[in-house]
Point group: C2
Chain length 180, copies 2
Amino acid sequence: MSRPPHARNKVLDAFERVLIAEGERAATLETVAREAGVSKGGLLYHFGSREALEEGLYARLRTLAAEDVEAVRTAPQGPISYFISTSADVGLPLDRVITAVGRLAHGGNAHAIAELAAVRSSWADVLRPHVRDDAALDLVMLVSDGIYVNSALMNDLPGPVPQGSALEALIKVVERAAGA
Amino acid sequence: MSRPPHARNKVLDAFERVLIAEGERAATLETVAREAGVSKGGLLYHFGSREALEEGLYARLRTLAAEDVEAVRTAPQGPISYFISTSADVGLPLDRVITAVGRLAHGGNAHAIAELAAVRSSWADVLRPHVRDDAALDLVMLVSDGIYVNSALMNDLPGPVPQGSALEALIKVVERAAGA
DNA sequence: GTCTATACTAAGATAGAC
DNA sequence: GTCTATCTTAGTATAGAC
């Protein structure tokens, strides 16, 4: 339906970029428009209001999250390992929308909070058959949440999120504690 | 140095309240002043700028966090159990400042990010002697981060944060996986 | 120590030219 | 489909009265 980086998508990319790098307050229509290389009026042709712009981001989140839920379900190395290790990914399209929508959520936006909760709940549903019990599911989901929030906060900078062999060791501990 | 709820503290309380409930964007000087029951000019007498107001919050965070680090170190039921269970506390002064500063951090505020990182690092230092290895420390810290971010996001609403017996079961799993 | 009044800037949004 | 110009409101901050 929209193959080339149409202005609409360029605007959405810019909104995402500014939200991630500088937060909600900096993500004004004017800043997003400038970053996207269009004028304020141009932006407002594609998204008639700030709310419409936000809704565009939620739509993107829903699409990418649905794909990821399928990837978790069918992961060769097992859902838990795949789920935890991809929580630590940075810069992938899904990771970026989640962080961006997270910025709006922490800004108190009820819609953004609900969208994130829905995605989280989809993941929990896929993982449930693969964990021992409810406490184990909590463990896996919370470790993933923890990795996400640290990545989102420390954006780029070397932070407290385990990488490489430390991440592999963490995954082993989680699988041993939670795996069915 | 300041026993009664002086205007300064009332303003800080209001700033915290608005940040938690409605996010950074809503926490304007005017809104905070109204919520504190003072005028904009009155607020600006105590905190000469928005930055000064934020710095007031960081100072409060540092004080309460230092107390909590001591409480974790000397907890009778063991540091890990105490640390995880108090991560799920909602409405306690420390929990509230952390959430409020978290709002600023997700708003891209570098100072807020650094303050939170410093507190997190103090906790890690206290817990390190009580866990098996680095992966175990990552596990404990990330579960706590996960609990925090869910509480912060779902503010009040019944969310995905385990409570009561579910929380106890989670703590058992974490202690078994991580305890030294 | 706290208020009112006001200056200045930038936000979201509309109108209309191109 | 995109731009410029403009309206309205709200943000931070200052000055000065009380």
